[in-house]
Amino acid sequence: MKEFAYYPGCSLDSSAIEYGMSMERTADILGIKLVELEDWSCCGATSGHNTDHLLSLALPARNLAIAEKMGLNVLAPCAACYSRHRAAEHAIRSSKSMGDKIREVIDMDVQGTVETLSILDVLANDIGPDQISQKVTKPLTGMKAACYYGCLLVRPVEITGFDDPEDPQSMDKIVKATGATPIDWSYKTECCGAALVTSRPDVGNRMLYNVLRNAQESGADCIVTACPLCGLNLDMRQAAVEKEFKTKFNLPVFYVTELIALACGDTPKQAGSDRHFVDTLKYLSQIEVNRVRAASEKAEQKAEATESETEAPDPEATQKKIDAMLKGWQKNPAKMAARLIEDEERAAVLVEVMTGDKKKMTRLAELMVTDADKAVKAAEAFITAELKKKQA
């Protein structure tokens, strides 16, 4: 079992409480043991390094000193915590004089022997997508997710280094393992505005708008993040940004751990997903509908396949099936066409050809019962002929 010194940071039981909840669920599900770092303190975040260099290294160093005593690597889900702890490790390891200064300030021993890891690194590289997908019971079918990494998980490279700074893939792999579809987009590592959204909304809101717009234009229907500040900005401020830029995004925002919990069978409430600002519940129930539909289609196909394999041809039963198939064509040609032809446009042409042509309908109905492959070939031939006719 993987074991970590768990550093939840200040956000995971407050502004990003759903991140904290789903983090613990994810650990449970995947068999990761989290031992909370004893009496941990705040890493100082951006305000720390904006104000005082030494302080900004000493604050996380105190936590590293505690983890060293525990003899465990640190798991820090928050991107800012992760980044500050890595920066402190880096400083302690690379300069003896800076290390000495830090030890003096915190009045504890710290040698940089433990490593702080991000949840993306642990899930994608330690646990691995295969292990995750093995636990999935309710795949997030049809979810088009924009995986948003933001800044601090991938930059500076000397400090992070577990993924590519321009086109990272770790979250995409994890999201894929949950059954969702990660989309390609170009703002995955663009800054969301961070604290500027609060301190200078005139600047921060535009940065936020750029990220949301790119996600939407690239075909995403939700955003996934692993940073509590990104999460809060994208979610809580989305309405204000929509108003300022006179547009609608309506993009639910999830933490990556929520997707794991949900895909492994948790209710939205258990995963904390009912605590967002942009409504997620309606969206998630649509995903659930997709999943059920896909599952029953699969079961149907399977049943059909075994039927045609096992049953000896009984002329009467066959005739009955043909009749039923013919009825299907008369009643709902679109559905029947979709069973034969994947391409939507071509399927539409088939519907056109079939409508009102009982002879062709009967022919296809027969073939669909007796020889599925031939049925597809015949349908394709009908479509091609029709298209040629149209061109001429």
Partner: protein, 189 residues
């Protein structure tokens, strides 16, 4: 004549200040060949008076006061994109960071809001050992005179169990105060 550039001989103290900032940032401004890639990728450049390339140029020309008074250094979001992309390996983000701290020390804060936010945040950490978000919003809004700015978000946050009105202290909060004090004493060395 009207377009002539007045070249002021660099003052020794400006040179010294620039090397101090460079040392703190662990980078060198002379590496920069002004290609502008940093500015091209900067997500906040649209709001800056001197985008990152120009900040570096000001420093190369020893115009350090002008750089320290630029609004840009307070608009920079520390996103690290510039440093990650610079073909010459200039750590611009670290320079921006060092400049902010220098401006703070000199009392040249052109953006009081960002500085007030940082101060309020660190005050919470110093007193409780953890960030105190409700207190942060209150103190920040008081010092910047925007008492009601985020009030509209307070209630929805509370409804979702996302803010506690009381701070959580850690056990070792006295240790943290000492860390703040010692860092301040040693930091100047």
């Amino acid at each position: 004549m009207g377009n002539a550039v007045t070249l002021i001989p660099a003052r020794e103290q400006d040179r010294q200040l620039i090397s101090k900032v460079e040392k703190e940032a662990g980078t060198s401004i002379n590496l920069c060949y002004q290609c502008g890639k940093c500015t091209a990728g900067c997500p906040a450049a649209f709001a800056m008076d001197y985008p990152p390339r120009q900040i570096i140029r000001l420093l190369q020309l020893n115009l350090v006061d002008q750089a320290l008074e630029a609004g840009s250094i307070w608009i920079c979001a520390s996103c690290e994109t510039c440093s990650a992309r610079c073909p010459r390996g200039v750590d611009i983000a670290a320079l921006m960071d060092a400049m902010r701290r220098e401006a703070l020390q000199q009392g040249k804060i052109t953006d009081k809001k960002v500085a007030a936010f940082n101060k309020a945040f660190l005050n919470g950490v110093k007193n409780f050992g953890k960030a105190y978000e409700a207190g942060l919003l209150m103190q920040y809004n008081l010092t910047t005179g925007q008492l009601l700015k985020d009030a509209g978000l307070g209630l929805p946050m509370m409804k979702r169990g996302k803010v506690s009105m009381l701070p959580h202290s850690i056990k070792g909060k006295d240790e943290i105060k000492k860390i703040f004090d010692r860092a301040e004493q040693l930091g100047g060395e």
